[in-house]
């Protein structure tokens, strides 16, 4: 029972990106002190190559490596989200890191390796693979978060690390219990075990396992009350990393959640949907309400990402392929709008000063029209206002929730969404409606060509997927059809 070339096909994208990571490390090692500007593009090239090897995964579901890795459309869809995240992150990082004097190969390699971890999370069909992938991703992100090695960066990294490891313990314990209850931790195997043994649905061990796994995932997606690391880690980490964390980790984690909850725990929907119902409500509400009280845009976006996790959880609660497709769409939309927003944040900063205080934005909308336009677009998208991708994402998720009769959750969701408008608008209010202070905080934009390209791409993505979502929705639905 060894692996075959068919298995390798499933792994090609991962291998390509890993190779790119190694290449990046190697390139710096062999030419120390030289110009390193090409390194991120090396990474991007790797992602592009990987992207070319991916479309073949769409189609009938396959599984490889003895049921360890899926090669299905679902995974492929998430891969594409992750490619977008990875490429945009690298683009955003380029000028930013150079400006901050931290443009090291390790950074790009870690991003790429984290990306591999994320992809494996999305593709994992075995909890062991899943766990290892998750740790690969997490450890890389811990390191990335602390990459600037200043006070805040180190603190962010530390908090994320300690709590991440802490919650990993819970996740592992959960896996152990599931192992005990089901005899296997393969996704399909768990499903079969629950399906074949009705009594298992009432087994305290199995359910406690589900609960602990839920804790582990809830931590990764930053669901309340497992969210408290998020604002600190997001705020302290280098902004490009924050963007990466907020989008990539979220996408990978939700992909894993979908696979575990929609497939492995399919028969337990009755049990977990109620729990997630509460989590979703708490997450949306706490995220939004706390975001309203923020005065720092970066931290505000951190809380907003919690809120977004809440909306996505609404989709998880619904538990249907329709909802899953909505979640995938949402993740993609979120990737574009969030990275775009963080790119804008990077642009207003300068070395050593992030300038993410809300007041720093006063009057910037007119001073830097392109920045203002982009930031407004991202804010509107996050607020879920058409015609942006953010709207379509919310629309799809709420549609699925309503379809399952979760009226109240949906109503809470839209009310939350309305409340969130307040703080997203506040950014716009400050940018456009408030005069620039006499002593401008932001003199010039820190915008290299790569940053500009990233922002424009993100903006176009937000608009494109907001206006012509059709094809992508179909694709997402197709992805879910093979998953469930």
């Amino acid at each position: 029972m060894t692996f075959s070339m068919a298995d390798m096909r499933l792994l090609t994208p991962h291998l390509v990106i890993t190779a790119a990571a190694l290449l990046v490390l190697l390139a710096e090692a062999v030419s120390p002190g030289r110009r390193k500007g090409y390194l991120p593009y090396l990474g991007i090239a790797g992602i592009v190559v990987a992207a070319f090897t991916t479309p073949g995964l769409f189609g009938p579901a396959r599984s490889g490596f003895s049921g360890m890795l899926a090669g299905d459309a679902f995974a492929a869809f998430v891969y594409f989200i992750l490619y977008a995240v990875g490429a945009l992150t690298l683009l955003v990082s380029d000028g930013y890191l150079r400006d901050e004097g931290r443009d090291h190969a390790e950074y790009y390699a870690l991003v790429l390796l984290a990306l591999v971890g994320m992809m494996l999370m999305a593709g994992a069909t075995h909890l062991m693979t899943l766990f290892l992938a998750l740790e690969t991703m997490s450890i890389a992100i811990y390191a990335l978060a602390g990459f600037f090695r200043d006070e805040r960066s180190a603190e962010a990294s530390f908090k994320y690390f300690i709590l991440g490891a802490f919650s990993s313990g819970f996740l592992l314990y959960g896996i152990a219990l599931l192992y005990g209850a089901c005899g296997t931790t393969e996704i399909q195997g768990i499903l079969d075990a629950f399906a074949s043994n009705r009594a298992l649905a009432g087994s305290a061990m199995a359910l406690a396992g589900v609960g602990l796994v839920t804790v582990g995932f809830a931590f990764k997606v930053a669901a309340v009350p497992f969210h408290m690391w998020t604002p600190d880690a997001y705020q302290g980490a280098p902004t490009s990393v924050t963007a990466f964390m907020a989008t990539g980790v979220k996408a990978a984690a939700f992909a894993a959640v979908l696979r575990v909850f929609f497939v492995a725990f399919q028969t337990l929907h009755v049990d977990w949907s109620g729990v997630l119902w509460v989590l979703a409500l708490l997450t949306m509400t706490v995220g939004n309400l706390t975001a309203i009280a923020q005065t720092d845009v970066k931290r505000m976006l951190a809380y907003s990402s919690i809120a977004h996790a809440g909306y996505i959880l609404v989709g998880v609660v619904a538990g249907t392929p329709e909802a899953g497709a909505g979640i995938l769409y949402y993740l993609l939309a979120y990737a574009f709008m969030n990275i775009g927003a963080f790119a804008c944040l990077i642009m207003v900063g300068r070395k050593g000063h992030e300038n993410t205080e809300l007041d720093a934005f006063a009057g910037l909308g007119f001073k830097f029209p392109a920045l203002g336009l982009a930031m407004s677009l991202f804010m509107f998208s996050m607020a879920g206002i058409p015609p942006t991708a953010g709207f379509i994402g919310k629309f799809l998720i709420f549609k699925a929730a309503v379809h399952q009769g979760y009226y109240w959750l949906t109503i809470f969701g839209v009310l939350n969404s309305a409340a969130s408008v307040y703080y997203y608008l506040r950014v716009i209010v400050t940018m456009y409606f408030k005069p620039e202070p006499d002593a401008p905080v932001v003199e010039a934009l820190r915008a290299g060509p790569s940053m500009a390209v990233a922002t424009i791409l993100a903006g176009l993505g937000v608009l494109y997927f907001g206006i012509v979502p059709g094809g992508l929705v179909d694709l997402a639905e197709q992805a879910l059809r093979y998953l469930v």
């Binding site: 007119f366 206002i385 058409p386 709207f391 709420f398 309503v402 979760y406 309305a418 408008v421 209010v429």
Partner: protein, 524 residues
């Protein structure tokens, strides 16, 4: 059905114009203005073709265009107009031209201003022609953004508060409507139909009355906020007072109509039994709005705020008409929507004229203006009369039909509504008296110039419309006859069809939703 895509053309022409506008250098303000005017004017001219080619004998949708958009969800780009939307579309294109003219004096960030203006026009037109619920919702929300900027950037001193209040107020309502739209979609699927957001298909979906009840509540909230109906109106005075002149005009002229249009197009035909159940309540609220708005307008010391509150009163009339649920009332309501666009729009334009000269809107700062600005006073008086419903001017026709319609449904409502006629005369004339009559004793007011050519340019069309609509309403009413007849017919038929439908009690339906918080068993 292969014809020139008029509707898409007029809707997206402003958008296209806005994109081109981006290319015009910021410094050539004249060019920016001229281009915007040209775009708006061309849009208006093309929209006139709708009027000419509209077939008044046909009650259904005309100029229909349809293209699949998100096929798997049944969302399509589906547009068309009937007698209900025809005039609102024309009103929009007409007022847009007027507004661009009235914004000639905007000096601050002309380019952005005009840009948002054109975007706003696209949003409004799109919302009016959409026959797909999602498409409608998208335009409906997208409309908010430019308006938000227009208030927030070019508004008065409290513009930020007003802009945010406007935005969030509207958002809350429309998001709940979104939930209802989704629920409708789902119920339609549950009834065994193909998934679709096609409005005309959903018209045919018969829902049990108690289900309708809650669905209507959600739609109603969204539209009632937009209208705005008492007591959801408090965003309006703030938004109106703070918005720049053209913003107020559009806000009063078109945006508020979106609410009444929403009732006519969506909330009422979709949920007739709910309308029947809600109608008494709605009529009471509408009447309260009429009287309350008028009373509050009376004690305003800011001209613009006064006009804003008068809108609350006028829109109360419109709503009263709609919920009278007979031809006179509904047609009157629709007509009054148009009238309000003209007369209140013109009032805002007029207030803008003196605001530009004096930079104040406080009634106490004026007095005796009829002496220094006789032409202005004359136009103002004409519009005032139109606003208070003097026969021969537009306001009367609408108010008369509404009250007549309301009377046929509920005598009490009509009696109370008619007091609004008295109060309207009270607050408007009192304001006119304080602003225009009396001694011209304030030094600042003595040298005020009378209307300029430009101001004449945008006021004359409004006055002409006021007379036309008042003297020969047939031009307008006739085009809506067939549509509204069909509307009422369908309304009654659907009401009958749904009446006997079995469904759990209203609370059971709610319970259904509550159970799903912790679904015990969900078999679907």
């Amino acid at each position: 059905m292969s014809h020139f895509p008029y509707l898409s053309t007029i809707t997206f022409l402003p958008l296209l114009g806005a994109l081109v506008l981006l290319l015009i250098p910021r410094r050539s303000e004249g060019g920016i203005r001229a281009w915007t005017l040209a775009v708006a004017a061309v849009t208006f001219v093309i929209s006139l073709a709708l009027w000419v080619r509209f077939d008044p004998t046909q009650g259904g949708m005309q100029f229909v265009e349809r293209k699949a958009w998100i096929e798997s969800l049944g969302i399509s780009y589906y547009v068309g107009i009937d007698g209900i939307s025809l005039w609102l579309v024309l009103l929009t294109t007409f007022l847009s031209v007027i507004c661009v003219l009235s914004s000639w004096g905007i000096a601050k960030r002309v380019k952005e201003y005009m840009l948002f203006f054109l975007l706003l026009e696209t949003g409004m037109l799109g919302a009016l022609i959409s026959l797909d619920l999602v498409l409608f919702y998208i335009f409906w929300e997208a409309m908010l953004i430019p308006m938000y900027f227009l208030i927030g950037v070019w508004g008065g001193t409290d513009r930020i508060y007003a802009a945010i209040k406007f935005f969030i107020y509207t958002m809350v309502g429309s998001l709940l409507m979104l939930v209802a739209i989704l629920a409708l979609y789902y119920l339609n699927i549950r009834a065994g139909n193909a998934p679709t957001f096609d409005l005309l298909k959903l018209y045919e979906l018969n829902l049990a009355p108690n289900v309708q009840f809650w669905m209507f509540a959600a739609f109603c909230l969204a539209f009632a906020i937009k209208v705005p109906m008492w007591p959801l109106h408090t965003w309006l005075p703030d938004a109106h007072t703070q918005a720049p002149t053209a913003g107020s005009v559009i806000l009063a002229g078109v945006l508020l109509k979106m609410g009444t249009y929403g009732f006519l197009r969506f909330a009422m035909p979709l949920f007739p039994n709910a309308v029947e159940a809600w109608a008494p309540f709605m009529m009471v609220v509408a009447v309260i709005g009429i009287i309350y708005g008028a009373l509050v307008a009376m004690v305003q010391d800011d001209v613009k705020k006064l006009v804003a509150y008068s809108s609350v009163s006028h829109l109360g009339f419109v709503m009263l008409g709609l919920f009278a649920l007979n031809m006179q009332g509904v047609q009157g309501g629709l007509y009054q929507s148009l009238n309000h666009g003209i007369s209140t729009g013109a009032l805002f334009l007029l207030v803008g004229v003196i605001y530009e000269r004096r930079h104040t809107r406080a009634i106490a700062d004026f007095g005796g203006l009829a002496k220094s600005m006789p032409n202005y006073a004359a136009v103002f008086l004409i519009i005032t009369m139109s606003s208070i419903g003097l026969p021969g001017l537009n306001g009367f026709v609408g108010e008369f039909l509404i009250m007549l319609g309301a009377f046929l449904t509920s005598k009490t409502a009509a009696v109370f509504a008619a007091t609004g006629v008295i109060l309207a005369a009270g607050y408007m004339l009192w304001m006119v008296k304080r602003v225009f009559f009396g001694a011209l004793d304030k030094e600042e007011n003595q040298g005020l110039a009378d209307l300029t050519g430009l101001e004449w340019g945008y006021l004359i069309p409004m006055v002409v419309m006021a007379f036309w609509m008042g003297i020969y309403p047939g031009t307008f009413l006739r085009k809506t006859d067939a549509t509204l007849e069909l509307w009422l017919e369908r309304f009654e038929a659907k009401k009958e069809a749904c009446r006997s439908l079995e469904a759990p009690g209203a609370l059971a339906w709610l319970q259904d939703g509550l159970n799903l918080v912790f679904p015990a068993s969900h078999a679907d």
